[in-house]
Subunit: 597 residues, 2 copies
């Protein structure tokens, strides 16, 4: 890595922040005391208040450190917006890792009056094409690394559609760093040529209708085609404010420095592209999960917050670079139910977990586990077990509910708040998406009975907090009893040598179904697990589970298999469908760990 | 003070938090992904998440310490709501100091579907009656101390209207502490008798229309009849979120303990009754400003935040009990332009100022002075001078503007951003009130040209921050030059012996107007100022101002008068109209300080 990049041609055009010139009130303008909510304004506002504050820290694709101020970030987003406006482009796909260009897209596309369509770069080429076609994009911004994923689409559905490539370099040679930067520059020039309206000529401070679409992120679609989730300006705004407050991004004594471990394409980065700018924090971008680099940034760059799935946190805690941090870092954890064990490990490293839960359909997080002071008096295990619960609805949401899962569609009845009866988690309120894009039938099902169905199973505790048991399709029904795969996984990772666990149902002639566990083991003495034989044997784990855990005997898996790696989605969820395949057909060659006899 | 009160009969009825039963969607229900915003829900939510957290700390009228949990506060508010519903009362005046009953009114009245009409208890009996009549209240909750203010009204406009008296005692004798508590109990019983619907039977989680009225606080009306300012559920909700974020009430490591120095009747306590519950903080109530008690609470009760006018902070800093606090306390300061000198004094005591500015018409604060890290490199005086600027629009507001003041009504043109041209501060966005109650003409003027007119004069600095110069009517026009009374006051309090300064225009045959200053001096050696002759003489101050300050010579007041006390409004603003009276007719007997010759 080298130091910051020298000024580029772009910077000659920076600093043109315009005074506020609101558009004349049209015939449909709201009353004077109402302006329609949109989070895009948070960037314009940050640049107006603290133009010199560091907005972006990034190690570019060519390995150089890039630092940009809020004035620069805002000017670049504005340039992109005017470029899109000049070209009449209004619905723009974004296929990129967590780069500054992605952030500029989040603001620039919407400021141009358009809609963001973020695309998961870990999808197959075919699914990427499907999403771009289905969302009817009229342009795509793509990071050079993933340009290949568009090859097939460009020959078919994408024919003639503009593709803007970002090289994610730092333009050290005095040249611009590629088509994306050229577009930004062209946009800034276009604004100057057409009256220098600046932000006032764009969609920023308010929007025609806060219920209009701001983005269409897609579900990961593990079992069917990805579905487009319709986000509105109002929903994104209120989710942003909730995330800001719940993750505590407005620190009283330090500027927020947010590390982008969570993919930005995932639910528009849980609205954090907006929330970080709302507090004038620094976006520390990250092209990929790289544990030594993350630890380096944690130690040297004064990171204050990051969001990551339990699996990323598990790897972080077991990395060789792990060290107790001098100042607390708030880690917002979601995506799959974390274990009490993980929360204890993280806390010991001063990585203080904020536990949230949500779906792409709820703009990312919508519940939080609130840590109560009285828990300090509990035994450690109980305290961390409480912390691993999914908690209560967010500040700007309404209460979460658990409803009986087997009633006719549209009938909504709460389960008992006894910590035992399993039901489906449902949501109401402003952090619910508007529906699925071009899929009225799926939208109707999503909101059956007037509540947003999560498909996740949970119990409701007497204190009103909820605790996930399973995805509806992941619950194991054995001899008529429900076995929670999540509860089994939480138990298994308490074994001192187990790193991660994934449990699925396998068919059983007697019981109907029974659980099977796939485990990865901790690295011993620095060598890779399984090299030269593993120290742990599957039957040791089964024996340990029978004798050492608090779960019922009938739940203990009779089949345990040690593997080198668990299959995961881009957001770190274990792919249960792949494990079910393994259970049927056996693990692929090289996956299973050879056990010592 | 004694310790906490023993359980009362009320507590037998506590703990009836109901599970969420949303009302069936009616014909006008919004789409599933939208719920109408209302801040009343923040109390129900706090009690659901942390029922045992301390919601209220209060020293009662009978001198006992009262501590109440969120479950208790929520149950009491619910009881009040059901009482009002039972009696069909929907618009309720509240005439009380900062008591727990006032907080219960803020939630209970709205939960019953009603409107809060807070009344300033420092008004004359006649004005109190005017407000209650004008707002058409159908009930009044009054603290026993102020019951006398209703005497005349009860014989006339208030005849037959229910008055509920709160004794603000702790019910130590096993009896309830008076009519207000009886009403709460009656309401809780009424709920039980009619199906125990709890919060689900009230207006809490959402509201029929977020643009409906939630409260009608009144302006102080120094020059005309008080005007009723219409607050909506949506406006209050968004102002609450902004205050939460801007004052940093969601501390990462401590529970917010908010000291109620700001009157709750003033702009509904700047929305802090809602903001504190949103973070499950403790409301430390306070019947009156009592500097030794405030310092005791700061030192012993771990106060984290309070809001107060500069005058209160000035007195706090010069109190005998003043001490550097071990942990920082965030003090949100507004109401009249504070001086750089005050901010320095406060900072030295670990009372860290958050500088905001607003009007009753903007739900209280709507701008904040953001402290930039680069100011640390400035000379101290410049740093604190920057901190005393009014800053930029709040997170959930839109940018504040300064417009040319002398254009025809409805014509809106920005002044130059040069720190020199004086114009009027105007606001746009969601933190603007809906208008004046039953006064379309005043509402039209308030929003002339589509912006909310503050009546305050300010300059716009090149960095976009604004700085108040004066109320429009307080500016002094001397020989055609504008002299800012605020700038003169800021300069005068830098004199080491001056405590406070109030400057007004007096007629001058040659210059048209010229400034006259009224000053209070610091207490020397613990004795009251002026006792036995003051150490400071008016002409010393004039000499000092001529030689030591940075202002133009023509601005230096030729007339300075030392007084024992300055006349102030309930919110700590200096009453300029009274000073103008003094300037015309001379100070009343006993006000002027006898100077040593």
């Amino acid at each position: 890595m080298s130091s910051s990049s020298p000024p580029s041609r772009l910077q000659n055009l920076l600093g043109h922040l315009r005074p506020h010139k609101p558009a004349a009130a049209g015939p449909t303008a709201p009353p004077h005391h109402i302006s329609h909510l949109s989070p895009t304004y948070f960037l314009e506002r940050a640049a107006a208040i603290e133009p010199r504050a560091e907005a972006v820290y990034h190690v570019t694709a060519n390995g150089r450190v890039l630092r940009r101020s809020y004035m620069e970030l805002a000017d670049r987003a504005r340039g992109l917006a005017y470029y899109l406006r000049k070209k009449g482009l209004r619905r723009v796909g974004v296929l990129a890792p967590n780069t500054p260009a992605f952030l500029e897209c989040v603001y620039g596309i919407v400021a141009a009056g358009g809609i963001i369509v973020p695309v998961n770069y870990r999808l197959k080429e075919e699914d990427v094409g499907y999403i771009l076609d289905f969302a009817e994009v009229d342009a795509v911004v793509v990071d050079q690394e993933y340009e290949g994923l568009l090859a097939g689409w460009r020959e078919k559905g994408g024919k003639g559609i503009e593709v803007i490539v970002d090289l994610d370099t730092d333009a050290t040679e005095g040249a611009l760093s590629g088509p994306f930067d050229e577009a930004v520059l062209e946009g800034l020039n276009y604004d100057i040529a057409t009256g220098s309206k600046g932000w006032a000529g764009l969609v920023s401070q308010t929007v025609a209708n806060e219920d209009d679409t701001i983005a269409i992120p897609f579900t990961s679609g593990t079992t069917s085609k990805p579905k487009g989730v319709v986000y509105t300006h109002r929903g994104a705004y209120l989710a942003t404010l909730a995330n800001l407050v719940e993750s505590g991004l407005n620190l009283p004594d330090r500027r927020c420095k947010y590390l982008w471990t969570l993919p930005m394409f995932h639910a528009v980065g849980w609205t954090f592209p907006w929330a970080i700018c709302a507090v004038r924090g620094t976006h520390v971008c990250l092209r990929k999960i790289d544990y030594p680099l993350i630890w380096k940034l944690l130690k040297e760059e004064g990171i204050t917050h990051f969001n990551a799935a339990p699996t990323v946190n598990t790897m972080l805690c077991s990395a060789a670079e792990a060290e107790v941090l001098p100042l607390p870092v708030r880690v917002t954890v979601a995506a799959s139910p974390p274990t009490a064990h993980l929360f204890e490990q993280m806390t010991n490293l001063n990585l203080l977990p904020v536990h949230v839960y949500g779906l792409t359909e709820t703009y990312g997080p919508i519940t939080r586990g609130y840590v109560l002071p009285e828990w300090d008096a509990l035994p450690k295990h109980d305290k961390y077990a409480n912390m691993a619960r999914q908690g209560h609805g967010f500040l700007t949401s309404l209460p979460v509910r658990i409803i009986k899962p087997d009633l006719p569609e549209g009938v909504v009845v709460d389960v008992a708040r006894d910590g035992k009866e399993i039901g489906e988690i449902v949501f109401v309120g402003n952090i619910c998406c508007k529906g699925y894009y071009k899929d009225p039938e799926a939208t109707r099902k999503l909101f059956a009975g007037g509540v947003l169905h999560s498909g996740d199973l949970a119990v409701w505790h007497p204190d009103g907090s909820i605790q996930i048991q399973d995805r509806a399709k992941d619950i194991i029904i054995s001899g008529g009893e429900n076995i929670s795969s999540v509860a089994l996984e939480s138990m298994l990772v308490e074994h001192p040598d187990v790193l991660e666990a994934g449990v699925v149902a396998v068919a059983d002639s007697h019981w109907g179904e029974r659980p099977k566990a796939y485990l990865t083991v901790k690295v011993v003495g620095g060598g890779p697990s399984g090299s030269g034989g593993c120290v742990l044997r599957a039957r040791d784990v089964i024996d340990w589970a029978r004798h050492n855990s608090a779960i019922s005997k009938f739940m203990v898996p009779r089949e345990v298999e040690l593997v080198r790696e668990l299959p995961k989605t881009s957001t770190g969820k274990i792919k249960k469908n792949v494990l079910r395949e393994w259970a049927k057909k056996g693990t692929p060659p090289g996956v299973a760990v050879v056990e010592r006899q």
